[in-house]
């Protein structure tokens, strides 16, 4: 006897959650990268102005 609720929950729900979790991880990786690049760029700009 096939439990179609289980199929929907595990396949549909599981794949949906996987996509969602990995999108969140990619956003976090992107944000960290953005912050790092900005904070790295700032001291370089200040050093250039001082010259």
């Amino acid at each position: 006897m096939i439990d179609w609720n289980l199929v929907a929950e595990v396949a549909g729900g599981g794949f949906g959650i996987t996509i969602l979790v990995l999108i969140i991880l990619s956003l976090i990786a992107w944000l960290v990268g953005l912050v790092m690049q900005k904070t790295k760029a700032k001291p370089e700009e200040t050093a250039a102005k001082d010259k």
Binding site: I17, T18, L22, M36
Partner: protein
């Protein structure tokens, strides 16, 4: 004389002989064809060991499960009485307890370079989409009636193409299928260069395969490399708590590599440490395949379904890359999405080779390594989701 001295010939079955041939074929593939030799050689030899009757290295219960290992106090006596064998001990304390797959993942983390993933975070989306094969095969396996829900999930995760999460999940949800699933997972990983190109050719045009990508990815700072494993672990652990053991070990191993102060630990984790664990895993997994357990319709179904899993995984990654191309100015070569089927680094190499065939100026290896690593994270997340839903 023969009343006192017992040979094994009388106990040999046709099933045992067939398993010898399978073991010989695996050892041949490992040694002569260099296909995943680190695993196929020990697995092949493990199959030989368990299929030689009366050897006693791995004792099975009448239901086809490895005999239960008593607590440490009674262990030596049980081995002496022939109630269990050495490989029963390795199975119980190494695999059933999940120790070996998790420690192997630590070593894998220490060998992993996440810079391509950090430089292009959209890689995570490709890694996630490439899990499509896992869920498609879950549906097929479960609705076929050959597997229950837990077993179907373990068959599906072969499509993630990542060894430790596959072993970890199967040991927890379907230990009876651990032998065939691990064997098929590792064998098919070696077959990625044969399995992926037809699917990629079918789903992309030559023009798409020739899309040029600048060879250089952006520079990733040391601090970013250090923050990455910690952040990914914390967020993934909060979102999918059951993935903590896998992602925790993976990211801890990676932190050892990138921290800059634990080089000796990283070298140990990615050297002899992982080698010892890998051959123990291979040998024990091989010993999980006596003829009466391995030669079933379920095993044949697993062999067939794994092809479907790889095909849909490749397709999922490709479709995700095509989708992203609808929204970005600088087009991505959709083939790099196919590398989301982790199989590190084989699928990235496939993309590199096919990219150069379509456009000799293209150098896609580093671009494909991003989704490749993201695929490993995605498979661990999927294992955690399955455990949360089915355990």
């Amino acid at each position: 004389m023969f009343g006192l001295y017992e040979t094994a010939f009388g106990s040999l079955s046709w099933g045992n002989i067939l398993m010898f041939l399978i073991a010989g074929f695996l050892i041949y593939l490992g040694i002569a064809k260099k296909m995943e030799p680190i695993l196929l050689v020990p697995i092949g030899f493990g199959i030989l060991m368990v299929n030689l009757p009366l050897g006693g290295l791995m004792i099975y219960s009448p239901e086809g499960f490895p005999a239960e290992v008593p607590t440490l106090g009674g262990l030596i006596q049980a081995i002496g009485r022939g109630e269990i064998g050495l490989l029963n001990v390795l199975y119980t304390y190494g695999i059933e307890s999940e120790v070996i797959p998790l420690l192997i993942f630590l070593g894998v983390g220490a060998m992993t370079d996440f810079r391509p993933t950090i430089a292009r975070p959209v890689s995570f989306l490709f890694g996630a989409a490439a899990q499509l094969g896992v869920f498609v095969v879950f549906i097929i396996a479960y609705t076929s009636g050959l597997f229950n829900g837990s077993e179907a999930a373990c068959v599906g995760i072969i499509g993630g193409s990542d060894g430790p999460p596959t072993v970890y999940l199967t040991a927890a949800l379907a230990p009876r299928l651990l032998g065939p699933i691990t064997l098929v997972a590792y064998s098919y990983m070696a077959l990625v260069p044969i399995l992926q190109p037809p699917v990629i050719r079918l789903l992309t045009t030559k023009k798409e395969r020739a899309i040029f990508m600048k060879p250089q990815l952006r520079h990733v700072s040391k601090l970013e490399e250090i923050i990455f494993p910690v952040m990914i672990f914390i967020v993934a652990a909060l979102l999918v708590p059951k993935s903590v053991p896998l992602i925790g070990m993976f990211m801890f191993g990676n932190l050892l590599r990138v921290s800059g102060v634990t080089e000796r630990l990283a070298q140990s984790a990615s050297g002899v440490f992982i080698d010892v664990l890998t051959f123990l895993l291979g040998l024990t997994v091989g010993a999980l395949m006596p003829a009466e357990v391995f030669l079933t319709t379920q095993t044949l179904a697993i062999i067939g379904l794994a092809v479907v899993a790889f095909a849909f995984g490749t397709a999922g990654g490709l479709w995700a890359a095509k989708l992203v191309n609808l929204f970005v100015k600088e087009k991505i070569n959709p083939m790099i999405g196919a590398a989301g089927v982790s199989a590190v680094p084989m699928s990235a190499r496939v993309v590199q080779k096919m990219g150069q065939e379509a456009n000799p100026k293209n150098f896609l290896l580093m671009h494909a390594m991003g989704p490749n690593m993201a695929g490993a994270v995605a498979t661990s997340v999927v294992a955690g989701i399955f455990l949360g839903m089915l355990m």
